[in-house]
């Protein structure tokens, strides 16, 4: 495969120029090698419209990225940058435009600086959460990373995709906690943002804005350049951590519970609250009584599930409450939060989960129950959908739907019903129920996310997931819910739902695209932003 519209002579000349710039061993063109850049969780696996690449190039320096970009401009080669390519569920390493050349930044793995007095790190795109964690541990630095569930991804890539983590709210919004970028623009120029624009600056990763407009935002979920360095604020290592679980018996108890946890999280008392419902385990086990109740449309409004939970001596909701800080202080904070919850939900019950005092020994790290809550990277999240004793016939991946909804209990119950009824009659209807818990990574709202199944052997499963995805995207938008992130296959659709004033936001980004990348070489179509010459490709 070669990029569409590129002549054979130009293609061969471009490949030759890539090899000259970075070495032939870092230019991948064989079928065997480029197959490794397929999206392992592609919802189009093996079908005609699966997004495939023509080649991959793996630079090791900013200068090599510049050379690649200039060559791409010279020959009109579409390129698609990835950091570590672990964006599974949201597209992996595959591009929007088939035939693109992937610029694989995995081997740009320098940790430029870590400062545990001012609490920041500056890293290249190939640095993973595991890498930075190990670096900090080896040097006994008193700072934490905030990592997403899978720790093998890139700090830069995750932040640019607006990825999220699990600790304190100011750190787990990874784009919001970044500070300073170095970017190779489509013309090969290098720009440093914020204080980095000041030669000799001493505060690149302390003060994000520098002087003048804050340009960083266009590089998040954008296609206006290739980020080659990025700074991040780090959390100081706290004295202690405690986690407690509160259990409440009724579905509508979520309304006061969310109100209280919002108040304490936004006030700096509480870490990320984690909502769960034991009824999801009954559902996974195929509980017949629960299944019968779920068949009734009235299940959204009546108290049948409350009664079922009570009959099984289960709470309807559980919420893990996490506290970081001085040990005595966080116990006092917990007591205060507990009293507030009991004042509004008198029959709430509390359970001790974990207490940790930092620093942890290696043995203590290994036994931490929920490692991402204290910034220890791992891959344990894959147990959610991998084969196990309770899931003997798993899929081969998932397609993530991540709608953003207001963070109130009332909005949660309403959104559950909207998405549940949208999928009613579908084989995937069980994904939205009256007990579907919200995710709280986005610290000012809920992501009522779910994963539709993916198969690398049964296209009908993928077709059903694609249909369901399109349905919930459209119905969500009709009800005011938009996605914060989606795979390439759905980026045009999601982009089209952000349509205020005749798609004014998209028209603005296209105007910027045409000015910054007139040949449209970088990540064409990314998040609905197509260059002028390919704009008719929008689906």
């Amino acid at each position: 495969m070669k990029p569409e519209g590129v002549g054979q002579a130009s293609w061969e000349a471009a490949l030759s120029a890539f090899e000259q710039a970075i070495g032939s061993e870092r230019v991948f063109t064989s079928d065997e090698d480029i197959a490794l850049y397929r999206d392992a969780y592609s919802p189009m696996w093996g079908e005609a419209d699966e997004r495939l690449i023509s080649a991959a190039v793996a630079p090791t320096s900013t200068e090599e990225v510049q050379a690649i970009v200039r060559t791409a401009n010279q020959f009109g080669i579409p390129i698609y940058p990835i950091s570590t390519g672990k964006n599974l569920g949201y597209g992996g390493s595959a591009p929007n435009l088939s035939g693109s050349v992937v610029v694989d930044l995995k081997d740009m793995r320098s940790i430029i600086e870590v400062d545990d007095e001012r609490h920041f790190a500056i890293v290249e795109p190939g640095v993973s959460y595991f890498d930075l964690f190990d670096y900090i541990q080896e040097r006994d630095l008193k700072c934490w990373i905030d990592c997403p569930d899978p720790g093998w991804g890139s700090l830069v890539g995750n932040a640019l995709e607006h990825g999220v983590g699990h600790t304190w709210y100011t750190y787990r919004d990874h784009f919001a906690s970044h500070c300073g970028m170095e970017v190779v623009l489509p013309n090969g120029d290098i720009v440093r943002t914020g204080m980095g624009a000041l030669p000799g600056s001493k505060t690149w990763s302390d003060f994000r804005y520098g002087f003048g407009p804050d340009m960083d935002g266009i590089f998040g979920q954008g296609n206006f350049g290739i980020v080659t360095k990025m700074g991040f604020h780090l959390m100081p290592q706290p004295d202690a951590f405690i986690s407690k679980k509160v259990r409440v018996p009724r579905r509508r108890d979520i309304i006061p519970l969310v109100k209280i946890t919002n108040e304490f999280e936004y006030g700096g008392i509480l870490g990320m609250p984690i909502y769960e419902s034991p009824l999801t385990q009954l559902q996974a086990a195929g509980d017949e009584e629960l299944g019968a109740l779920m068949d009734s449309p009235e299940v959204w409004h009546n108290d049948s599930l409350d009664l079922l939970a009570a009959s099984r001596e289960l709470p309807f909701w559980e919420c893990t409450l996490q506290f970081y800080g001085p040990r005595e202080g966080i116990y006092a904070n917990f007591d205060f939060v507990k009293d507030r919850i009991l004042a509004e939900i008198p029959d709430a019950e509390f359970v001790d989960l974990e207490e940790l005092q930092f620093p942890l020994s290696q043995e203590e790290q290994a036994s931490v129950r929920h490692k991402v809550a204290v910034g220890i990277p791992n891959l344990n999240i894959f147990s959610v959908s991998a084969r196990s004793r309770t899931n003997p016939n798993p899929g081969d991946g998932h397609l993530l739907f991540s709608p953003v909804i207001p963070r109130t209990g009332t909005d949660l119950l309403e959104a559950q019903q909207i998405f549940g009824e949208a999928l009613r009659g579908s084989p995937l209807a069980s994904l939205y129920t009256p007990f579907t818990p919200p995710f709280t990574w986005l610290h000012r709202c809920f992501a009522l996310a779910c994963g539709f199944p993916i198969s690398r052997s049964d296209p009908s499963i993928n077709a059903a997931s694609r249909d369901a995805m399109e349905t919930v995207i459209r119905i969500g938008a009709e009800n005011g819910y938009g996605e914060y992130r989606t795979p390439p296959l759905f980026q045009d659709l999601v982009s089209s739902t952000y349509s205020y004033n005749n798609h004014a936001l998209r028209r603005l980004t296209e105007t910027v695209k045409d000015a910054v990348d007139p040949n449209g070489i970088i990540a064409a179509g990314r998040n609905g932003i197509w260059p002028k010459h390919l704009r008719e490709r929008r689906q």
Partner: protein, 127 residues
């Protein structure tokens, strides 16, 4: 220049020995580690180690998957297997299995893959 601190290259061609839970699961000692063991610790052990998983999960994901698949007929922890060959290891690394994606050559290059195959097939000493 970037900041005032000299650039520190973490990993250009060298695999850094892990000092966290991944090392413990591999059985930390003072013996020098083979390249295959280092590759395993960097890329595999976070799913195929012997530690606990997330709350409610007794195993790490890869170990839990193999525990369910083999139901005791083969060890669930990869480093306890005696039936693996470099060819089998290479197949799964380059093709994936279920939720496990395949690994690109910028993750694990061919030399590292060969070393990993020797380590997991317990044939390093024969080389």
């Amino acid at each position: 220049m970037i900041g005032k601190v000299a650039q520190i290259v973490l990993l250009s061609s060298t695999l850094v020995a892990c000092t966290n839970d991944r090392e413990i699961a591999a059985g930390a000692d003072n013996a020098p580690k083979s390249q295959g063991q280092l590759v395993f610790e960097e890329h595999c052990i976070a799913c195929h180690g012997s530690e606990i998983g997330n709350p409610g999960e007794p195993f790490m994901p890869g170990t839990g998957a193999l525990d369910a698949k083999y139901d005791g007929t083969l060890p669930a922890v990869l480093t306890e297997r005696t039936d693996l060959t470099p060819t089998v290891v290479a197949y799964f690394v380059r093709n994936g299995a279920g939720m496990m994606p395949f690994f690109r050559k910028t993750d694990i290059d061919d030399d590292e893959l060969a070393a990993l195959g020797l380590y997991l097939s317990n044939t390093e000493e024969e080389q």
